[in-house]
Amino acid sequence: MKRSVKCTKTLAAVLAAAMLLALTACGSKEDGQAPSEGTVSSLTEQDSGEQSAAEDSAEDAAKEEDGSVTVTDMMGRTVTLEEPATRVVALTPSDCEILYAIGAGDTLVGRGTYCDYPADVLEVPEVDSGSETNMEQILALEPQVLLMSTMSQTEEQAKQLEDAGVHVVISDAQDIDGVYTAIEMIGTLMGKDEEAAAVIDGMKASFAEIEEKSTGDGSQTVYFEVSPLEYGLWAAGSNTFMDEVADMMGLTNCFADLDGWASVSEEQVLERNPDYIVTITMYYGEGPLPEEEIMARPGWENVTAVKNKAILNLQNNELSRPAPRLAEGAKMLFDFVYGATE
Amino acid sequence: MLNVKDLSVRLGQKQILDSLSFSVREGHWLMVVGPNGAGKSTLINAVTRNVAYTGTVLFEGEDIRRKKPAELARCMGVLAQTHETAYSFSVEEVARLGRYAHSPGFLSRGGEGDRAAVEDALTVTGMWNRRNRSILTLSGGELQRTFLAQVFAQDPKLLLLDEPTNHLDPAYQKQVFDLIADWVKKPGRAVLSVIHDLSLARAYGTEVMLLDRGKILAGGDAEEVLTPENLERVYGMNVYGWMREMLSLWKDPEETGTGDGV
């Protein structure tokens, strides 16, 4: 079971350091010293600098006059390509979603096993991902860039691919700001900066709208169920996208005392008595719907959300992936809680 | 008591036993001797239905193939050569298992008869005082006597022994054989035993059967069977001469010892 754990401080530090580095690299180029193309710096870590300044100029800084692109990925590694990438393998579902969102879906030549959105992605050749990541499969597709997350792949694997001439770019968003960074980074990499900016603006706008329209004062609680009772309850705690979204609309995540995704006791759910329940259990076309299953659970009839039938199923990972669809998921939750606005 | 006719056992291509016919009569102790690989142990296995055989084995006129396991166990008991123990059962618990065949049902309770039989068997074998000992702590001889108590408690009519004292020291050998010799004296009992030691066979057996490569070479009185010629043929050596030689090693020091000493 995967967890999204945020380590904002370290991440921010690394990011800032990385962007500073990009700045300096750029500055030196203006002096006429072009960096050797296609090189990938190994993991770079530096003490943090002024974060905001770095962020503001990151986008511009990455673009080169000779058409080459340089990005600093989310592990602080700098990657320079001669030209925007045209052949990409993405192992994480969220990266695939970002690629399609910025209109670069056609560059995808391979996708990880669990990538399933949008439907078009399913036609892209599949490569094993996660613990079974298969280097040969990836190399056979001759990509210029491999997008992956830190969660599933090891540094050794990244090294191996780099030695074989594939640029490895790591996206590792732990919160919504991180998602913006990832979109921006991928946009630069694909030469689709405007599209990426548009996607980010769209997300920001819908989040802003939600935040503005939400009337919640934190008194109402929501329980995010990420694994159903049958297989052992798991809830999303703090430092998750779900928690962030709940916060945004003035709801309190009733398991905010736990970090990340955590297995929880059934008794605790009853005791905490959430006003809303959001489940992400997929429905496979047989048996009761996930919402119905929750309502039918013995002993749950006293839970406010069950009494009010206030259960939402977001079964397509809308709120669990660091991807543009977070905005859609947030909208769905907003409509569910405050009623549809349109 | 036991009538065996045309008993043959085949293991793959190998003919282990080749149409043996013999019988064990009440009150007798039949010793089956022969070199390694003659088929002695297979004979016991066949008679206890542990290996597939052709021919007929009749117990008191009835085919043993038609008997249920418990029924067969009331007719014939087996004392094996060695016993591998894993759990700390007590001597008495092992002996009491011997009564299984007399009440094999689910709900049977041990009756007075069962208790008496077990007590008797433990007393006869000299294990009564050690009845609460764990079998894991017993010496080889004590363990063998424990299982002897079990088979006595089982109270079969025919006792089958497979090299029962092979690994025991002479004192235990004598104990076990004496106990069995006493046991067989009671009416309605008989013993069939497979044995290597020709001296023991001769000393305790009432009849001897000499087996060689799955066939009976000779059977009957020990005198008639264990002749120097027969043994020479089977073992390929002068058994008599060798035994005499061995014995001479013993006699001399003993005689001089008693003469010189005290």
Binding site: G232, E266, L270, E271 | P69, G77, F89, S90, N132, Q150
Partner: protein, 355 residues
């Protein structure tokens, strides 16, 4: 060496039953949500009295309502009952296997029988094998069948490799078979990802969310298959002394072995289909109790029944409250305890293998 009586005496039964009830009460009173003892008792008193009113005197009566009674009556109590029954069933099955195979390390989890049962359940879910009238019977039947097949395969392997089934062989075969089964399970899950995603449930086991219906199924299995095992205590004694010896004293070796294997598969299969693989229960409890009751199955089996229930209830209690409000899988707790006992037994059998 102290002497043990042949059977369980009435006071001993009473003691074990009282202990089990005490542990059950403890496990119902303590949980993730802290409910004061007085409130707990009053909920149970109300439930009991309304139950009596309704079913004995046919008077209309309301069962207690509210969050507290939901937690106690519909979440905690049925779960604790399921845990107790699973514990009893698994440890009885373990004791039977240890007797049958004459090896104190034999157990559903060490041999891979539980994994085999889990594979059956996963296949049933992956390929949608169900019986129309009984929604959960598909996984259950498949789990039982696979447990039985696993036992047959294991015995055949043991026969070929080492007839005496020494401790080393048992462990080796168990490890090999478990690995084999887990790779098969991975293959099935790869093919049917969307249906069977929760592999951890099957490999680590949990009885969260189990209800009275599950408890009833477990009770039925325990009465039927557990009954068969309890009635074969003498035969198990004979097998524990030695299979050859069992044959010689008149045990119908083939029939008894088959019957016991079916009963063991039934217990393990049904437990796995309800709670996943909960390892080492069948290893730990019979072993501890053997020190108390001796190896005689007439005493060991009933003791395992109660002892297994107590052990698993306590393990579940730890799983429920150790990291409150988080919850551990019960299998993690039993495996932790089991691994230690396993090493201990292995050490002892190795040192004492001279006899």
């Amino acid at each position: 060496m102290k002497s043990h009586r042949e059977r369980f005496s009435a006071p001993e039964y009473l003691f074990f039953a009282a202990l089990t009830v005490a542990v059950l009460c403890l496990c119902v009173c303590i949980g993730s949500v802290n409910i004061p003892l007085g409130e707990t008792l009053s909920v149970f008193w109300d439930a009991l009295s309304s139950f009596v009113q309704k079913f004995l005197f046919h008077k209309p009566a309301d069962f207690p309502e509210g969050t507290v009674s939901s937690i106690l009556l519909t979440v905690r109590l049925p779960r604790v009952l399921c845990v107790a029954l699973s514990g009893a069933a698994l440890s009885l099955a373990g004791a039977a296997m240890q007797g049958l195979l004459k090896n104190p390390l034999a157990d559903g989890s060490t041999l891979g029988v539980s994994s085999g049962a889990a594979l059956g359940a996963v296949i049933a879910i992956a390929f949608g094998i169900t019986f129309p009238s009984l929604p959960f019977a598909g996984t259950m039947v498949m789990a039982v069948i696979f447990a039985f097949l696993s036992l047959l395969i294991l015995l055949a392997l043991a026969e070929k490799l080492d007839r005496s089934l020494s401790t080393g062989t048992i462990i080796l075969i168990g490890v090999i078979y478990s690995m084999f089964v887990s790779s098969l399970m991975s293959i099935v899950i790869t093919f049917a990802q969307d249906r069977v995603r929760h592999i951890t449930f099957w490999t680590m086991g949990s009885l969260q969310g189990r209800g009275y219906a599950d408890a009833a199924v477990l009770l039925g299995a325990l009465v039927l298959f557990g009954g068969i095992i309890l009635f074969h205590a003498r035969e198990l004694n004979a097998f524990a002394v030695g299979e050859e010896n069992a044959r010689h004293i008149g045990v119908n070796v083939r029939r008894v072995k088959l019957t016991l294997l079916i009963a063991v598969s039934g217990l393990i299969g049904i437990c796995v289909s309800i709670g996943g693989v909960i390892g080492f229960v069948g290893l730990v409890t019979p072993h501890m109790l053997r020190m108390l009751t001796g190896p005689n199955h007439r005493r060991l089996l009933p003791a395992s029944l109660f002892g297994g229930a107590c052990f698993l209830m306590l393990a579940d209690l730890v799983a429920r409250i150790l990291l409150n409000p988080r919850e551990l899988n019960i299998g993690i707790v039993t495996s932790l305890a089991g691994a230690v006992v396993f090493v201990f037994i292995f050490y002892r059998t190795r040192r004492g293998s001279g006899c």
